[in-house]
Symmetry: C2
């Protein structure tokens, strides 16, 4: 064979070159290196593989000769752009050996539906709840805080406190008092990767397989899924305009945990009344259940006064409070925090440490800066104003274009509303969403947020969770226009 | 009462002011606002609490009059620096109600020892394994990559792909092939928050309570703890100079998982031989066990050639490969990755999503930039050179100052060695460490890395895990000098 011709025979070098050649060709064939992809320099690859540069050069030359690679201006070597992209980028093998078995956890999560994804392509309006407008993000203050945090780095890089950086916990403690009248010690705060991790830690530490947990119905589906993934058995409790129906708890003595959103029920938007808060706390004290209070969007309140959290209302021994910056800064940052009772501090600290050591340090430091300097609260006030404007645009458009054909609930606070379609029965909810999608609308059903599809308290109407924080006023109006057209085509009624 | 004198009577305002007053005073009494701490401006607090500024001003004036607050130049209000710091910053209450019960997971982790912490105060030399020198961190490239990533942000902020950003997975796929001869599809890669989270996900998805798992003995203690926390029962297997004794596996048919560090056994430093690799893979194929291959420090190899991972040696259906940047960039970043078999892709994706949605986006984007541009590998080569110099300094100092009184193992690769003290029996290991600490040395015992204290293959000598990546050559030499003095005082021998 004439391959790698300029390498000496019998030195073992040809064998090494052959291995590198096979490897590269395999990567090109599998699409790992796609057409036009830049290859490492011969120097870099030789250094990495600990072989001579001559060997790598010989391999590159061979592949150039065979047309797999090409050299353009500047002498850089690329995968030939003439090559077709492979159809499948991985070669499947059928396994003849024993496959891995999943744990109970693994089998439970395999059965859970994934959260809905946005339709592909450019949309007229995507009413996806949880998205924020990037233009609202305080880019400059965040960049400054990140860069300052990098400069402050200690001499040694080492694992941080599993509970989170002291500076951030101290800043959050003060913030929580100012913004939420929540009193706690910084030692009770555990910084987590967004509220999702906070919920997961609660599930792991407080639920065993077959344990019952109380949850609002409808609710945040990813919370219910986490508790189910831990083996928990849901006890769904109806929600009305005063929040969760706590009178239903009287007969439930054996639940280990109760997940609630008292400041702004997700998704229906009611605020839990004072009487029900007292009833819930009394139930937790009596039964020993722990309340997980998810305060996911309390920064956004429009026509109502802030209400102190359950954690503060005398229930701190039985309440785990959960906050996040996913709705104020960005869901992509993955920053949240738990306030846990003294009795659970050590367990949460240790669980966080075993789970992932701690939340990334740089982002913690930047957030600490923002909160301690007051920049965070200034940003929150600005975001509240902007989202208030979006909310007004949405409510006005819904009233003008859809009027009596819809009932809008939960608009006092938060970044979403629920829209019930008075003339469309529940069974046509999916048709409404598909029709909307084909008109370029991202619409999201309320049904998956209910624990079961057939409960008496679930209105027999189609319902949508309509998030508005990712849209501007013009997109909101165009989206509602589109929705009105979809509605007309479904019901035949014109307004 | 003369309090809040300038507020009108009967307007409810005094009641509001009283609540704010009580709250602030409570925060000062508890130490939440310590002496000298800056209070929010009356405008900011009024805006946050949604009360009039007059009300907040009246409260501040009352607290100023009572000596809790003071105003200095600039008119900013602070907690009086004359106040003594409270003894305890949290008032403990005795609970009369039912306390929360921990889950099996919670009870299991409560019994596990925490990782050793560094001694307090300034040290002569801290030989803590896992620490890196901050000066080695590529601050400028990282800052540039972070800032570039911020500019590239999409119009909407939303949850990312649970498996990690596509750009990062594609960059890692190419890197793994170049640096580790590891072939995989980008779809098999799951970005995680450091290897700790990778191990935790493996434990959750593959182990049920009472399931057996094979683990090297000694091993990385936090890995063993994670598998135990999932309810797993450890089957420790002896390690020698060829790595784990795979001949011991013949009789183990019911283990679900096997955790190994074949490239550089932690902590003893041996490289698993080719024959044992084949034996291990054959065992996994036969029994259906999954191998977790932790490749935690393979970037650092000095006198040896790189060895291809188990994942590549034909075992990709039974091997989960685990990599991290904790040893190359920083342990504080919390970035790692799994390469999982096709059959486990969906399970890992879903588990990651339910656990914490995804790893923070900005850091993923920055790492993708660094890896794709080649800057990461340039940095790794530089870090390898620097750590090679530290290693030389350590080995030379140990030979010169401690000579035959110690046996040093595992120096071919990685960022640590194990030092066995030939003249100090195992039972005096703790005394050695305490004595070192009182001389300003951070020393870390090998004993906690063994599954049980009394096994025949554990040498009856004191042993230390000596990490050197956080020290400069001068500190290393001073540290070894100190160690020689400690040794002399313990054995009475002088060299």
């Amino acid at each position: 064979m004439g391959q790698f011709g300029n390498l000496p025979e019998g030195s073992g070098r040809k064998q090494v070159a052959r291995e590198i050649y096979d490897g590269l060709k395999g990567q090109i064939a599998s699409g790992a290196y796609g057409p036009g992809a830049l290859l490492p320099s011969t120097r870099a690859l030789a250094a990495e593989l600990d072989v001579s540069r001559t060997t790598v050069t010989a391999v590159y030359e061979q592949l150039l000769a065979e047309g797999f690679l090409e050299t353009r201006q500047g002498g850089k070597t690329r995968v030939s752009s003439a090559l077709a992209r492979p159809v499948s980028s991985v070669t499947r093998r059928t396994s003849r050996s024993q496959p891995a078995r999943l744990s109970g956890y693994g089998r439970r999560i395999a059965d859970l539906p994934a959260p809905p994804s946005s339709p592909a392509g450019k949309l007229v309006a995507d009413f996806r709840y949880g998205d924020l407008t990037a233009a609202d993000f305080p880019t400059l203050p965040w960049k400054r805080a990140l860069n300052a945090a990098m400069l402050r780095r200690p001499q040694r890089l080492r694992y941080g406190d599993p509970r989170g950086a002291h500076e951030l916990r101290a800043a959050l403690q003060n913030y929580l008092w100012r913004a939420r009248s929540l009193r706690c010690d910084a030692e009770q705060i555990i910084v987590v990767n967004g509220s999702q991790q906070g919920i997961d830690l609660c599930a792991r530490l407080l639920l065993d397989p077959a344990d019952r947990f109380v949850i609002e119905d409808p609710c945040y589906a990813m919370a219910r899924q986490v508790f189910i993934s831990a083996g928990g058995v849901p006890v769904p409790v109806e929600v009305d305009q005063e929040g969760m129906r706590t009178d239903r708890l009287a007969k439930i003595d054996d639940a280990r945990l109760c997940y609630v959103t008292p400041s702004h029920q997700f998704p229906l938007g009611s605020v839990m009344s004072a009487a029900r808060r007292q009833e819930l706390l009394a139930w937790a004290r009596r039964t020993g259940a722990t309340i997980v209070e998810d305060d996911y969007d309390s920064e956004y309140r429009y026509d109502i006064r802030p209400i102190e959290p359950l954690q503060t209302a005398g229930g701190d021994e039985h309440v785990i409070y959960l906050g996040t910056v996913s709705k104020t800064l960005s869901p992509m940052l993955r920053l949240g925090y738990l306030v846990v009772p003294d009795t659970l501090r050590d367990a949460f600290m240790r669980a966080k440490q075993l789970t992932d050591r701690h939340t990334p340090a740089l982002e913690q430091d930047a957030l600490a800066d923002l909160v301690a300097s007051g920049a965070y609260e200034r940003h929150v006030r600005k975001a509240r104003r902007r989202n208030g404007e979006r909310r007004t645009a949405l409510l006005e458009a819904l009233a003008a274009r859809l009027g009596d054909s819809v009932t809008v609930v939960g608009a006092d606070a938060g970044l979403h509303v629920v829209v019930w379609f008075n003339d469309i029965p529940r069974r046509r909810e999916e048709a409404l969403i598909r029709k909307g999608q084909s008109s370029g609308l991202g619409l999201y059903p309320v049904t998956p947020l209910y624990g079961a599809s057939a409960v008496a308290y679930r209105p027999d109407r189609a319902g949508l969770v309509v998030g508005y924080a990712g849209l501007d006023a013009r997109e909101i109006r165009r989206g509602v226009d589109g929705l009105a057209r979809v509605l007309k085509s479904l019901t035949g009624k014109d307004r």
